[in-house]
Assembly symmetry: C2
Homo-oligomer: 193 residues x 2
C-alpha cells in the first residue's frame, strides 16, 4: 500500500505530527474524502494567493499587507521572528503600531546569519520611516536573545529600542515557574502604585 505510506510520510513532515498521528489522519481522510478536498483546495489557495508583504515580510494576499497599508497605525515597529507572531500580537488587541518579520532568528548552529534574515530591510525602514521606537519581540531563547542583542547594537542611535518584559506568565503558579524566569522577574520587578 505505497500510496497510503506516501501520504503518511507527507503528513509526518508537518510540525507537531508524528508517524502515529499522520496514520490516523490519512485513514480519516480515506473515510471522509470531503475533508481531504477541503485541505487540498486550502493548500492550493495558500500557495496561489498568499505571498509576503514587500514592506514588513508578513503574509498577505496583496503586495502590501493590511497593517502596512493602514495609515492609522503608529510609527512604531515591533520586530518578530515569524509571521505567526504577528497574528499572536494582533490577537492581544493592545498594540497599534507596525511590524517587521525577520523570517527567522540568528542561529549559527543551523547556519543562519544576519544576512539570511530581513535585517537590512529593517534598518532601511527605520531610517526611511523615521521610526520612533523599535520593540524587539523575539523568542526568549538563546537564538532570540542573540538576535535581539545584534539588532540592539545595530540600531542604536537610529531609534528608541525596547524589549518585551520577561517574567512570570499570567495565571501560572510560582511553584511551577523555573528559576531563570523567577530571577528575571525579580530583577525586572515593577514599582507598585
Amino acid at each position: 500500500m505505497d500510496i497510503i505510506e506516501e501520504a503518511i510520510e507527507a503528513f509526518s513532515q508537518l510540525p507537531g505530527i508524528g508517524p502515529k498521528s499522520a496514520k490516523r489522519i490519512v485513514y480519516s481522510l480515506l473515510s471522509s474524502p470531503q475533508k481531504g478536498q477541503k485541505i487540498e483546495s486550502a493548500i492550493e489557495r495558500l500557495s496561489k494567493d498568499i505571498s509576503f508583504c514587500k514592506i514588513c515580510g508578513n503574509v498577505t494576499d496583496g503586495e502590501v499587507c493590511k497593517i502596512c497599508a493602514d495609515p492609522s497605525r503608529e510609527n512604531v515597529i515591533c520586530v518578530v521572528g515569524r509571521p505567526l507572531d504577528v497574528m499572536s500580537f494582533e490577537k492581544t488587541g493592545v498594540y497599534r503600531g507596525r511590524y517587521h518579520v525577520l523570517g527567522g532568528l540568528i542561529d549559527p548552529m543551523s547556519g543562519v546569519g544576519p544576512e539570511d534574515l530581513r535585517i537590512r530591510e529593517l534598518r532601511e525602514r527605520v531610517e526611511k520611516e523615521g521610526t520612533k521606537e523599535v520593540i524587539l519581540a523575539l523568542d526568549s531563547t538563546v537564538e532570540g536573545e542573540a538576535t535581539s542583542s545584534f539588532l540592539s547594537s545595530l540600531l542604536r542611535g537610529s531609534a528608541k529600542i525596547s524589549r518585551l518584559a520577561s517574567g512570570v506568565p499570567v495565571g501560572s503558579e510560582l511553584e511551577y515557574t523555573d528559576e531563570l524566569t523567577l530571577s528575571r522577574a525579580l530583577t525586572d520587578r515593577m514599582k507598585e502604585g
Copy 2:
C-alpha cells in the same frame, strides 16, 4: 486574511489537530510550499487510487486487497472495526489469517446499528469460505464489547469464535493499570508451564 483562516479551519477538522496545531501547520506550509505540494498530491492519489476491498472492506488500490488475494493466508478471519486496525495487526507479523473490516462498531447512541456495518457480508463470507475460526478483535470499549457480543451470538454454530485477550499491557507497571483491567487480567489468568 480569510484564506489563512480557512486553511486553519480545514486542518482543524483532522483527528488530533486543534486550532493551535492547525495554525502552526498552515504557517509552516507558507514558508515551505513544497511540503504543501506533497500533501496535495498525496490527498489527490488517496481519493483517486484507494478504494475499499470488495471482500474484506480493507483499503486497497485494486478491486481486492493484497491479503484477500493471497492464497497462502489461513482460513481464519480476524474481525476489526477500521482499516487502521488491519495495519496494526499486520505490523505484529504474528497473524497469518485474513481480515474483515466492519467499518465501525455498534453504537446506538450515535445511531449506528448492525445494518450500518459490514456484518451481513461477514456472515456470508463465513458460510461461503467455510471459515475455521472468527477472531473478534474489536476495541475494548462499551461499543466494542456490544459488537463482539452481537457477532458472537450471530455466528454461533457457523465457526469457532474467539476474542482478543484482555490484560495488563506489555511494559506497563501494575501501579498505573486501572482496576477493571487488573480484574480482567486476574480472571483470565494463564497457567504457567
